[in-house]
């Protein structure tokens, strides 16, 4: 290739300088830096529906945690007012005033269903978050050790076979009967063996990844076990853990509703207890609102939490980061 350098009116020495080979420069990667969590959120927000769902979640959380701070709710405030009980929204607003409290009608004690739902949601969501946090932490830590060590595996499998066979309902009710059915007791009851299934799940995942070739290679190169666990295996597990979390949080809300229904629930007015107490209202014509509103709200909360978690789980899988 003959290029005409004459057109620049410069000599070849002026045009070119010799560059030395730099071993340091050759090590640099010119691609943009990859940040894991940045990519997760980039992928997550790429889907427009996620923004909508996330804003619904924000509204729900705001109602559950901020709304009760500004409202003075007393379940038995209207107890003596015989006209205020079991009202449909329209009648309630006609009788008790046109404000936000009565848009879902009133309950058996003349209380506002709308207020009761958000006080209940706060307890239910808090319970689910607390249980999920404890169970996930304990479950993931124990599950990883369980998967890594064959000695621990032998012991833990027997522990699992025993503990998994104790009826959950029995365990929870015994704990609730020993202590008072308070929030803390409920968290304790749901977490005392709740971590076990998570740990078992994580154990299976760890065993699948543990003996992969890249970990074997890492081991041959002398990487310590802890480093392999944190650098090689944990990133692989993030999406699994997030997906698991997405199913766990709604499941506690669902479980609390179930326990309340069989009469072993919290003493506080949670969503589950509301559904339990309003069950008779379901079949009574005109009372339907006080039963279906907590059912619908708890369903919305669990669906939103589940969808957000699932999509976050998808986004946290590095294979979607392309």
């Amino acid at each position: 290739m003959n290029y005409d350098f004459k057109q620049f009116n410069m000599s070849e020495e002026e045009l070119f300088t010799l560059v030395d080979h730099s071993s340091l420069e050759s090590e640099k990667i010119t691609a943009p830096r990859y940040s894991y969590w940045q990519s997760v959120f980039r992928v997550f927000f790429r889907k427009k529906s996620n923004i909508i769902i996330l804003s619904i979640l924000a509204v729900l959380i705001a109602f559950a945690y901020i709304y009760p701070l500004f409202v003075d709710y007393d379940k038995f405030g209207n107890l003596l007012n015989a006209d205020a009980k079991h009202l449909s929204p329209l009648k309630a607003m006609n009788k008790l005033g046109y404000n936000i409290h009565w848009i879902l009608g009133s309950g058996a004690a003349g209380q506002s269903t709308f207020d009761a739902i958000w006080f209940g949601s706060r307890i239910s969501i808090s319970l689910a978050l607390a249980c999920a946090a404890i169970n996930m932490t304990v479950g993931v830590v124990i599950g990883s050790i369980w998967g890594f060590s064959k000695k621990v595996d032998a012991v833990m499998m027997n522990v699992y076979n025993v503990l998994a066979n104790i009826p959950y309902v029995l365990l929870i009710s015994v704990i609730i009967m020993i202590f008072t059915p308070s929030f803390a007791t409920m968290v304790f009851a749901l977490t005392i063996t709740g971590w076990l299934s998570i740990a078992y799940f994580i154990r299976t995942q760890v065993i699948i990844i543990r003996d992969r070739e890249y970990n074997l290679a890492s081991k041959c190169l002398g990487t310590s076990t802890i480093k392999i666990a944190i650098k090689n295996i944990l990133p692989f597990m993030t999406s699994v853990i997030v997906t698991l979390l997405a199913t766990e949080i709604p499941s506690y809300i669902s479980y609390e509703v179930f326990l309340a229904y069989i009469g072993m629930g919290l003493s506080e007015m949670s969503l589950g207890r509301m559904i339990f107490e309003a069950e008779s209202a379901m079949v009574t014509p005109g009372w339907g609102f006080e039963f279906w509103s907590p059912v619908v709200v708890s369903s919305i909360i669990t669906i939103v939490l589940y969808v957000v978690g699932q999509n976050l789980g998808d986004a946290s899988d590095p294979r979607t980061h392309m």
Binding site: N158, V162, N165, I166, Y261, M264, I303
Partner: protein
């Protein structure tokens, strides 16, 4: 040698070796499982007998609240003994036992049994026996308690203020466990009846007297046994029945007083069904009595004219024939139909979702799965009940009705979550398989998509699904708590929660054992089924 271990050669000695290895492995698994069941029962016993406050059982007991003073205390101990917490012996019981053993005569007992209102008022004879009683029971680790009479001033006794003397001891876990597991299965024998009987023994007849002694129907009957009929035929499935072995999971106290958990679960319910029967005395009558269930009740024949007319011996305790199914029966009918329905719907829909990934059917299916996972089960069961009610289906279960329509809603409600679960996992497994090399190879080899899916992918993807079949079939028996409650099904699902609410310890332990055994068996059956479906899976190789 290496090949033999892997069993790849397929020579018959290798297969035999594998079979015995597999049997050995499964037996080992079963033993491990049974061992963990024992521990589970032990833990549950500790939970209900030691951790729970035993005063809770009196919370709803009106008899207890109406009593006062010493009587209230002894009532408590009596109840605790009945519920299985402790062993409780009163001084009067002890004296009676001594008389029966022949250590003292009736006159001594009569004069020694009445102890004084306070210790100082005891006569010398009483003092002697009270000391004996105290020494005897304290040496066995019992606690002896004496309560002086409570008087309302003067000599008049306060209500329930009678003086009391008794010994009690908490049953230790080990002996509780031992007696529970040794009493689990009892074999009926001709020495069961303690009273004097003339001709103890078994008799074999070809013409069962229940049918009038003319119809050919072999039966083995016993005299001196607990059950009169040990083996007999009738027209009910499975046509041959036995009473020789009986299972005692635990005696109920408050749920179904005095009846064993196993009987509670398997006894038919509903209204009586009368038929013409011939009693042993020859009396022919329209009655619902089931003479095949006759059991021994000492001295019962002479105690009542009704029995005297009908029976010739003390085997008078008979069950009645009822029209409905048992608790397990209802649960199982509903459960098994729900299982069949969920496999028939869940598997094809799951396959279709995987084949049409990201198409409309996949999206609808995924929405359904999300709905079932996220919405509290209570909420969608109620929703479904409301929809079913609007469609004109019966929303409550009625044992007396012969209509089969009432089964629809419970079955469908029960199937909804398992359909979603099957769809979810089958879709996941199939999509995972779709990217594997053998599928790409099959496709490049020119196989049609249909062939690839049915012959290759499905065969691999169905294996984990197959593993769950025994468990879902067996657990259909235990019933579903919410579904049965919502539709008022008289099934077994509520037994555990009812027992917990009523502090019926016998039932709690029995039901726990039943569930734990089902788990152990179903996991092993699942493994066997899986290895039958997929010959690659073997439990016999050593390096598992």
């Amino acid at each position: 040698m290496k090949l033999q271990e892997n069993g790849r050669q397929g020579h018959s000695p290798v297969i035999c070796d594998e079979r015995t290895n597999m049997t050995k492995y499964l037996i080992k698994r079963l033993l491990y499982g049974l061992f963990s069941v024992v521990i589970v029962v032990a833990i549950v016993m500790v939970m209900i007998y030691s951790l729970l406050d035993r005063n809770l059982i009196f919370a709803q007991d009106t008899t207890y609240t109406h009593q006062s003073n010493n009587q209230k205390v002894t009532y408590k101990y009596q109840k605790w003994e009945e519920y299985g917490y402790l062993d409780y012996v009163t001084y009067a019981d002890y004296m009676l036992e001594l008389t029966q053993k022949g250590e003292i005569d009736e006159d001594t007992r009569a004069s020694a049994v009445g102890f004084g209102r306070t210790e100082e008022q005891d006569s010398d004879l009483v003092k002697e026996y009270v000391a004996k009683f105290t020494e005897y029971y304290e040496s066995m680790g019992y606690k002896v308690e004496r309560m002086d009479a409570v008087t309302m001033g003067g000599k008049k006794l306060a209500s329930g203020g009678q003086q009391q003397l008794f010994a009690y001891k908490d049953l230790p876990l080990a002996s509780r466990l031992w007696s529970y597991f040794t009493g689990l299965i009892t074999v009926d024998n001709i020495n069961y009846v303690e009273n004097d009987l003339e001709d103890r023994g078994l008799s074999f007849t070809l013409y069962d007297p229940v049918y009038g002694g003319e119809k050919f129907s072999p039966a083995i009957m016993g005299n001196g046994t607990y059950n009169k009929y040990l083996l007999y035929f009738d027209n009910k499935f499975p046509f041959i029945h036995q009473n020789l072995l009986s299972i005692n999971l635990g005696t109920s106290y408050s749920v179904n007083q005095g009846i064993d958990v196993f009987t509670t679960m398997t006894k038919s319910q509903g209204s009586y069904v009368k038929s013409t029967i011939t009693y042993p005395s020859g009396l022919v009558e329209e009655s619902a009595d089931d003479l095949h269930t006759a059991k021994y009740l000492a001295g019962s024949q002479s105690s009542s004219l009704v029995y005297a007319d009908r029976f010739v011996d003390d085997y008078t305790k008979v069950d009645t024939v009822r029209g409905g199914l048992s608790k397990i029966g209802y649960s199982f009918v509903i459960g098994i139909l729900a299982v069949i329905m969920s496999y028939f719907l869940g598997v094809p829909i799951g396959i279709m979702m995987a084949r049409k990934k990201d198409k409309l059917i996949d999206k609808i299916g995924t929405t359904y799965i999300i709905f079932i996972i996220a919405v509290p089960s209570l909420a969608y069961i109620f929703l479904f009940k409301a929809i079913g009610g609007l469609a004109g289906l019966p929303t409550t279960f009625d044992m007396e009705s012969s209509s089969k329509v009432m089964y629809i809603l419970p079955i469908v409600s029960l199937a909804l979550p398992s359909i979603a679960n099957l769809m979810k996992w089958l879709r996941r497994y199939m999509i995972d398989q779709m990217n594997s090399d053998y599928v790409k190879f099959a496709r490049s080899g020119g196989l049609s998509e249909n062939e690839i899916f049915t012959k290759h992918i499905l065969k691999n993807a169905i294996i984990p699904v197959v593993h769950g079949i025994p468990s879902s079939v067996l657990f259909a028996m235990t019933g579903a708590i919410i579904t049965e409650r919502v539709y008022v099904v008289p099934g077994a699902g509520n037994l555990l929660t009812e027992a917990i609410n009523k502090y019926d310890n016998g039932v709690i332990v029995g039901v726990t054992l039943f569930y734990a055994l089902l788990t152990v068996v179903s996991v092993i059956l699942g493994d066997i089924l899986m290895s039958l479906v997929d010959p690659r899976i073997s439990f016999s190789t050593k390096d598992r």
